[in-house]
């Protein structure tokens, strides 16, 4: 298919359709409302469904219900909306149903603002909802990558029977870039007979499926948690994705940055290179599982003096970076909130200040 110019939000909606997801539940919120706008027009064309819930709490449970029936489901929202869905996310993870959540982050806490932010890093990677669960979290840095990650999110959600989250920010949602859509994927989860309550007569198995997250017996709950943990451990082995930028040669500083912020850093790195200063970058594409070894290996390179986490949040990812570097190099942080995305010049100023 030829390249088309699309807004990130619209491209995310189209990508979900191409991934075979015909069940979209949502509640509008800036800066992701164009997904709902786009799909309200597009879903009827492809025989799909968009249902606007009465609130994000309801939307979360609509996903749970439809997923429990074996449907491929997704929603999009922005920070406060994801907070409201977090209870359902915990239940979905507990009941081991697949679902895809897209968070186009806006500034917080509370109502915050509507401009780009990465302030939901902790919420996405460390919890949000209650209990021992993890989301597989992917962070796109371009509209094209958002498309690819959305399309990958559905098979991964089904592989692990676990919610997957795409963590973008207001710029990824609002920006237009050329995109190319891959071909259609399959239209039904292939493994749904293992868990969906879709009626005994529709499948070959004699086993009835029960969707639940309640385990009152302590041993059963512990076994359940161990099973969930084994899935998260498998993600750590099989799903880590990252990009190394200017990291082959000798660099004095290593940046760790993701999403929109990493693009600003990439330009800053190019500009510094022209001035003879080498700076490398590891850009996590998956925030959970986190590219721990890649960051450690890049940090302990002999030429590397310091590591810095640059993020549009007040020091969230830096905690993971610090954990990965294991004290072998000083780990610094730079960040900005409010929606004013730092410019390359600002990043250069920060990097030079480290030397």
């Amino acid at each position: 298919m030829a390249k088309v110019l699309m807004k990130g939000n619209e491209a995310i909606g189209e990508a979900a359709i191409r991934a075979g997801c015909l069940n979209y539940f949502a509640y509008p919120i800036t800066p992701q409302s164009e997904v709902a706008e786009y799909l309200s027009k597009r879903m009827p064309d492809v025989g799909g469904m968009f249902l606007q819930g009465e609130s994000e709490v309801a939307v979360g449970y609509m996903l749970f219900g439809a997923s429990a029936c074996g449907a491929r489901v997704f929603t999009t929202s922005s920070s406060p909306g994801i907070s409201l869905m977090s209870e359902a996310i915990s239940y979905i993870a507990g009941a081991q149903c697949p679902a895809v959540f897209v968070n186009i982050i806006r500034g917080g806490p509370g109502l915050g603002g509507i401009l780009p932010s990465q302030g939901d890093y902790f919420q996405a990677t460390k919890g949000g909802g209650h209990g021992d669960y993890r989301l597989l979290v992917m962070a796109p840095a371009s509209v094209q990558e958002a498309v690819e990650m959305v399309m990958l999110a559905f098979p991964l959600a089904e592989k692990y029977r676990n919610p997957v989250m795409i963590l973008g920010d207001g710029l990824i949602g609002q920006m237009m870039e050329p995109v190319e859509f891959p071909d259609h994927l399959r239209t039904e989860p292939t493994n749904k007979d293992a868990w969906a309550t879709n009626g005994m007569d529709t499948r070959n198995s004699k086993k009835s499926n029960l969707v639940k997250s309640l385990y009152l017996d302590p041993k059963m709950l512990n076994d359940h948690n161990l099973h969930l943990k084994s899935k998260y451990d498998q993600m750590k082995r099989e799903e880590i994705r990252y990009e190394a930028y200017n990291a082959d040669g000798d660099y004095k500083i290593l940046i760790v940055s993701y999403g929109t912020m990493s693009r600003v850093c990439r330009t800053a790195i190019d500009m510094m290179k022209e001035d003879g200063l080498e700076v490398g970058m590891i850009r996590p594409k998956t925030l959970f599982p986190f590219p721990e070894k890649a960051i450690y290996d890049a940090a302990v390179k002999e030429s590397c003096q310091k590591v810095i986490s640059i993020e549009m949040s007040m020091g969230q990812m830096v905690e993971d970076v610090d954990r990965c570097v294991k004290g072998r190099r000083p780990v610094e942080w730079y960040g900005k909130c409010g929606g004013d995305v730092p410019t390359p010049e600002e990043v250069i100023g920060v990097i030079r200040g480290l030397l």
Partner: protein
């Protein structure tokens, strides 16, 4: 090579649309492009701007401190953004609505009464197409015939608008000569 064009004016002046048409034309010409809108709590009559980045390699930062060019459709936009334009860039001034000039000698200042030309053609709403066409004719940032095609495509299915916009493209080109 990378260049950036800032379009700025009132909400309702078609600022985002002109940026989108340029981005489309540049994409058709084989460039990497990014279109970045302002999306505050916008309203008709408020300020609006968008930035179009055109490059021959993957675009890094979508945040640009100093754009190469500026198309200013109202006075507050000119006052705010003209000082940021890189030396050597084009600054288009919509002189129908802007009584002042950019006050710089190191740029190519292009004075176009875009709103007046649009009114003469029958609709104030096509001032953005007049300005965009004048800008492209002067800056040669994309091939002019490609722009013409992309304007037509933008109004595909709205045949009544095509003729008016075709005229706007032509008058814009002449205004830049």
């Amino acid at each position: 090579m990378q260049s950036e064009v800032m379009f700025a004016g009132f909400g309702g002046q078609g600022i985002l649309a002109s940026g989108k048409i340029l981005a489309h034309a540049a994409m058709e010409a084989g460039y990497e492009v990014a279109w970045i809108p302002s999306y505050g709590p916008e309203m008709r009559g408020g300020t609006a701007y968008c930035l179009v980045v055109i490059s021959d390699r993957p675009i890094g930062s979508p945040v640009i401190k100093n754009p190469q060019h500026l198309v200013a459709m109202n006075r507050p936009s000119l006052e705010k953004f003209a000082p940021m334009v890189k030396p050597g860039g084009v600054i288009l001034v919509n002189s129908s609505l802007i009584p002042i000039r950019c006050g710089r000698t190191d740029v190519d200042e292009l004075i176009v009464p875009a709103t007046g030309i649009a009114n003469d053609l029958g609709s104030v709403r096509i001032a953005n197409i007049v300005a965009l066409s004048a800008f492209v004719a002067r800056s040669k940032i994309v091939d002019f015939e490609l722009l013409r095609r992309c304007v037509n495509e933008e109004f595909h299915g709205k045949e009544s608008f095509i003729e008016m916009n075709t005229n706007a493209v032509e008058q814009g080109r002449k205004a830049a000569a």
